[in-house]
């Protein structure tokens, strides 16, 4: 099944989500980010998947977020299921969702530095230091 794809800007994002909710898309099933580091401008592409069970339709929203501002309005008021996904997007990519009830790291430790799924973040080369553990030289 091919979803309908709509591209939008951060300014129009929330209004668009509102209209999608009114169109009968009951569920927000997925929210994720693609980092187009040095490949595309704007750098971050937030991809949100919606599902309408009554009409058996899917819809994909793509929002482009610049590296300079990194902010997007939170849609947790409209779709409460966005809560964990927005926290994950913040944790992994550093996108800040305004008016999110609890925008904290979800998968990484609280005191982690950096956002691991960004393309300029190397993998497997960081010694893990747990909280309150004695420092090992």
């Amino acid at each position: 099944m091919n979803p309908v794809i709509i591209e939008t800007t951060p300014e129009e994002y929330k209004d668009l989500i509102d209209s999608i909710k009114n169109d009968g898309f009951e569920m927000m099933v997925d929210l994720t980010v693609v980092d187009w580091f040095r490949k595309k401008e704007p750098r971050f592409e937030v991809v949100v998947q919606f599902l309408s069970t009554s009409q058996n339709l899917r819809k994909t929203i793509k929002v482009f977020v610049k590296d300079e501002d990194l902010t997007l309005p939170s849609i947790t008021e409209i779709y409460p299921s966005a809560n964990f996904y927005e926290r994950e997007a913040y944790d992994m990519f550093g996108i800040i969702f305004e008016n999110h009830p609890d925008l904290t790291r979800i998968l990484m430790p609280d005191d982690w530095e950096g956002h691991p799924l960004r393309k300029n973040y190397g993998s497997g080369r960081i010694p893990v230091q747990f909280k309150n553990a004695p420092k090992v030289d």
């Binding site: 569920m27 927000m28 964990f84 996904y85």
Partner: protein, 458 residues
Amino acid sequence: MKNNNIKKSKLSNFKNKLDFWATNSEEGGWNVSSTDEGSQKMLENENEKQIKIQTGTEVVDDFVIEEETSDDERMIVNMGPQHPSTHGVLRLQAELEGEVVRRVKPIIGYLHTGMEKTGEELNYFQGPTNTTRMDYLSPLFNELVFSLTTEKLIGIEVPKRAETIRILMTELNRVSSHLVALATGGMDIGALSMMIFGFRERELILDFFEKTTGLRMNHNFIRPGGVAADLPDGWQKDVEEILKIIPEKLQDYDDMLLDNPIWKGRLQNVGILTTEECFAYGITGPSLRASGYTWDLRKSQPYSGIENYDFDIPVLKEGDVFARWRVKVLEIFESLKIIEQAMNNMPKGPYKVQDKKITPPPRKRLDESMEALIHHFKIYTEGFKVPEGDAYVAVESPRGELGCYIVSDGSSKPYRMHVRGPSFCNLQALPVIMTDSPIADAVAAIASLDPVIGDVDR
């Protein structure tokens, strides 16, 4: 005077030995008449202020009782991450008022291994090795969804036999996954026999998986372009045995639990999820069907030709833990129907797509053909290239909608690989179903959602 000193040191030794109350008698010795005052002193090394606080002559205002608060103080209790009924390393922060849970916050990430990052460094041919380790109770679904997304990006269709093998294996996997859900759910509530029964029957299916794929879990069997190997000789016999034994055993479970007053009392009207709540929190799968809403991706958005099979979607109205347990039992029967049809209608033919760029040639061909050797070398060193684009494909895993979103930049590795795990999303419902219910029901509620932490944390 000297005598007195000896007496005092002897006394202090005595005191140390017995760890007894001190006396306030100047001469030493144990003055019985002074014990009333002396007993207030507790320990000799306490300062005057503490003694005053203890005797009540001085009041320190560091603990103020609010008037609204009842006798049972609210307290925050940590459950997990090392708790047997959290099904892995899930941690719950629960605010309790007596026995009642007032607020709860699931804390996840203890099993985070960065699989989405790893997925960007493995090529499409290696991809299923990574995704199969996410939801370790239904590994074949993870492989299936990754393969379907890759195939959608390339634009190929797999042969009929490969599709049927995929359906056969994934539906068997659904049965084994639900059996674990029933087993651990029973254990959490105290039906310990259920634990042994569920895992015993699952073993039948895992044996078949081992025979077919070589491994009991993390198979890497379903790959882009088909499946890794054909079914082994005499596979029908094994599947027939599974089809014969599992319904009998399910009947045993029903005899034990269906009319069991304790089981019903613990599960009915506990942890109710309405359809609206399911929509709001994105909950799919058996939990949605237990709340009275008919929605199954196998029917509405079919994949791998599952629309050709005859089966029903069990739906219950209650939305409580009992309904979620019952839906899983009924789904096993429906899956067995699909397995039987797949077994009887297994088409003949290739089990991999006949495209030399995607499917590595069989081992025998390498000795005969230079071209086969080149293709083999290219696939195993570089992998095959996938055209630019992105795709989201979802299948119905035992826990709900399992989606995979892949962005390709035209190379042989995904530019971005994201898996929408159903457990991750379903966990958001925990605060909804646990709030204002007794702490004893919390365990039943977690078990009914059937989260797999490997899928949550990825």
